[in-house]
């Protein structure tokens, strides 16, 4: 059996969209992918300019014990408790990192590595202890299953059927993030680039930082079901860094993340259909390929600089 399947344009690009049923199914997958890419891309731009790219990684690992503990307390996989548990664990993780950095001789990188691995280890141990009555799939947490998005149950909100639960959640988070970012754009911008000046204006720099961490935890939790714990980092870092090869201005970088998100989603989707592998991983690979192309060929890229 050949490891790489035959590359056939027809089966890869046309078959997924051939019947109404398939269009409906795959449409939901694509919508989910777009929402994930956009939300994380926008947030990631602020995270990257603050030089905290791996904070996303840390938080996404750190939410694991929160998920398990909230499951143990409430005994269900409902959205509400899960979100609360995961967000508080994510915030606790970021708080611990910040506290270790500022109150002990431990440096930032080491404090990050200490905190998130410990949190993650606690989470894994709890899962292992509770396998009898815990329906959390470690594989799902690690890789995500965006391909199964259409299977998630419908969300009933005040008796109203809002449609697919995962997409609803992700969509709400996406709108929320876009709203917050556009409302407090000036504050985010200044606190990212010149926290001292922002502080002298009397802005609550620490509070804004905490708010950003909260948004990060929120979007990580919402997208975890789709892309898994670790590939969230890809969705956070790649759009901003790729866009920064084309422009140095943050508004333009933020705008570029939208078309990049579309490219990642469709590229990953079709790549996964060709290789028959995890869609989330394929999206990250698409992001990598686009990054390499941008890195090599863009006006600020390696090739032009070498000339």
């Amino acid at each position: 059996m050949n490891f790489f399947p035959v590359f056939d344009l027809n089966t890869i690009f046309l078959v997924p969209w051939s019947t109404d049923q398939l269009v409906q199914w795959n449409g939901q997958v694509i919508l989910m992918g777009l929402l994930v890419c956009w939300t994380n891309g926008i947030l990631g731009s602020f995270i990257v300019v603050r030089r905290m790219a791996l904070m996303g990684d840390a938080i996404s690992h750190g939410i694991l014990p929160g998920l398990v503990i909230s499951f143990l307390i409430f005994g269900s996989l409902e959205i509400g408790p899960m979100l609360i548990g995961a967000c508080s664990a994510g915030l606790a993780c970021s708080f611990c990192i910040e506290w270790l950095r500022s109150h002990t001789p431990i440096r930032q990188d080491a404090s990050m590595a200490i905190v998130f691995t410990s949190f993650f280890a606690v989470g894994v141990t709890l899962i292992n202890l509770q396998t009898d009555h815990l329906d959390l799939d470690t594989g799902c947490i690690l890789y995500g299953e965006i391909g199964l998005t259409p299977l998630s149950p419908d969300l009933l909100f005040m008796g109203l059927n809002c449609g697919n639960r995962s997409i609803c959640l992700m969509g709400t988070v996406c709108v929320f993030v876009l709203l917050i970012v556009s409302l407090s754009y000036r504050q985010l911008l200044l606190t990212s680039f010149d926290p001292t000046l922002a502080h002298s204006y009397g802005w609550p720099v620490k509070l804004i930082h905490l708010g950003l961490m909260f948004l990060l935890a929120l979007s990580t939790v919402a997208s975890m079901e789709a892309v898994g714990v670790i590939l969230v980092v890809a969705m956070l870092v790649f759009p901003c860094v790729t866009a920064s090869f084309f422009s140095e201005r943050l508004p333009i970088i933020l705008l570029i993340t939208f078309p990049l998100g579309i490219l990642y989603t469709f590229g990953g989707f079709h790549l996964a259909h060709w290789l028959d592998c995890s869609i989330a991983a394929a999206m990250a690979i698409a992001a990598t390929i686009i990054f390499i192309i941008a890195c090599a060929l863009s006006p600020r890229g390696i090739l032009l600089r070498l000339k």
């Binding site: 990684d57 002990t104 431990i106 200490i114 980092v233």
Partner: protein, 471 residues
């Protein structure tokens, strides 16, 4: 090994002596599997601690994290290449992938403006994505023996074979050899790269050597703790050691020991339960060690520091209220020793509740006593009156003496203006020792008046008055 595993399963179902029995079996190292896991985790902890010392001092913590994720595609490719879970091919694949990851990082660092943290994130997620893609592909294609690959995510210590153990030993030897040979060079290049380059130490190649060793260390610990937690063992023992010691040599030894302890503890705990994973437990044990040392270290522990500063604050507050009491009595030219809480409130500028609390504290410490059923010409409700006990009076005199002596010392010897000395004396009066006070007295020839013309109390002229008033 399969039979040993079966026995373990049977014992679980037997009875409540299970826990003791397991602990006993572990401590006596009865089974071959126990021996392998224990030696493996201890030795792995040692090598991770050793190399981790350099990881932490050179700020490479997240580099280790990236590296451990980046070896995943190598493992997948090695698996595809050999068609089975063959250790050698997996090892070669992982090594190549790890080195490839390092070179990608170097390229990004050298040729682009991408920040270091972003390039770590990029390499981490890109390699990891390729690895996941290949792994899911392997599952779809359906190799016969692909089940073992999952163990690389979280580690599976029970599946540790003697071959893995040999690998861990080789890595430990390599690391120790490298450190012993290059100890001085590593030390200099780690703390001052510019200087080390200028005296001809091959700084760059040392760095690459270190990176390669980190890769080997991560790969050798994969079977035990898995891809995601491998970096924890690099960082946590070394960071714990950095809280305790400052010199590199003792730092290395301590980190090595802490790694071994964490390995042993994790292996022991995981053996007590049925489904407890070894890798995460090793990480939890080392995290717990870190927390304990962070809070309870005799001199630098945060909890200890907090307690000391709290008791210091209590002492200073007590001394301040004693001083205020002295000044009130002094204001009444030492005739009336009865002090009301109203006077204290005015003197210290504090609320009645705070003052009541302070008086309560003084009484508890035996420095003051409350006057009961006092006949007061001003009828105020909730008015507490108190007198200082002899020991309280002596204490108050000592504090005021410290304060005024210091003020005099500053004006006479350090040429301070008399109106600038109060703030300084406010702080020093609590800290200055008996010996320094005697020295200053000798230096100033036993003065009687401070720069503001007030009396510097000494035991001979104040105490008799106070006691005669009280009795």
């Amino acid at each position: 090994m399969a039979t040993v595993f079966l026995q373990a399963e049977q014992i679980v179902t037997q009875d409540e002596f299970d826990l003791v029995d397991r602990a006993q079996r572990f401590l006596l190292l009865k089974d071959e599997s126990v021996q392998i896991v224990v030696f493996g985790s201890v030795l792995m902890g040692m090598s991770c601690g050793l190399i981790g010392s350099y990881v932490v001092t050179r700020k490479l913590s997240l580099f280790g994290d990236t590296l451990s994720h980046a070896v995943l595609p190598g493992i997948a490719v090695g698996f595809i290449w050999s068609g089975e879970k063959n250790n050698i091919s997996l090892l070669v694949g992982a090594t190549i992938a790890g080195l490839l990851g390092i070179s990608c990082l170097s390229i990004l660092r050298k040729f682009t403006k991408v920040q270091d943290d972003s390039s770590l994130g990029i390499v981490l997620s890109a390699f990891y994505a390729v690895g996941i893609c290949l792994l899911t592909r392997i599952q779809k294609v359906g190799y016969s023996d692909q089940s073992g690959l999952d163990s690389f995510m979280f580690g599976q210590a029970s599946a540790l074979s003697s071959d893995d153990l040999i690998g861990i030993i080789i890595v430990l030897l390599l690391i120790s050899l490298f450190i012993v040979i290059n100890y001085r060079e590593l030390l200099i290049s780690g703390f001052d790269p510019g200087f080390s380059r200028s005296i001809g130490i091959p700084t760059e190649s040392l760095q690459y050597g270190l990176w390669a060793l980190i890769t080997f260390c991560v790969i050798s610990s994969l079977q035990m703790v898995g891809v995601i937690l491998a970096s924890a063992l690099l960082v946590i023992p070394a960071a714990t050691a950095s809280l305790l010691v400052k010199r590199m040599r003792s730092y290395l030894i301590l980190a090595c020991l802490l790694g071994a302890v964490a390995g042993l503890g994790g292996a022991f705990l995981s053996f007590l339960g049925e489904r407890l994973p070894t890798g995460p437990l090793i990480v939890i044990v080392s995290g717990a060690l870190f927390t304990v040392i962070l809070f309870l270290h005799p001199q630098k522990g945060l909890l200890i520091k907090w307690i000391i500063s709290r008791s210091e604050n209590v002492r200073i507050a007590r001394e301040n209220s004693l001083k205020a009491a002295f000044q009130i009595i002094e204001g009444k030219s030492f005739e009336d020793t009865l002090i009301s809480s109203q006077e204290m409130m005015r003197k210290r500028g504090m609320s009645s509740a705070t003052i009541e609390g302070e008086i309560e504290n003084l009484c508890k410490a035996g420095l003051a006593s409350k006057a009961l059923h006092q006949v007061s010409e001003i009828k105020l409700p909730r008015q507490t009156r108190f007198t200082l006990t002899p020991s309280g009076w002596e204490y108050a005199c000592r504090i005021v003496r410290n304060h005024r002596l210091w003020e005099l010392y500053l004006t006479n010897e350090a040429q301070y203006a008399p109106d600038h000395v109060h703030e300084d004396a406010e702080k020093i009066e609590h800290m200055i020792g008996e010996e320094t006070v005697r020295q200053i007295e000798r230096l100033l020839k036993n003065p009687r008046r401070d720069p503001h013309g007030k009396l510097i109390p000494s035991i001979t002229d104040i105490q008799p008055v106070a006691i005669s008033q009280e009795t």
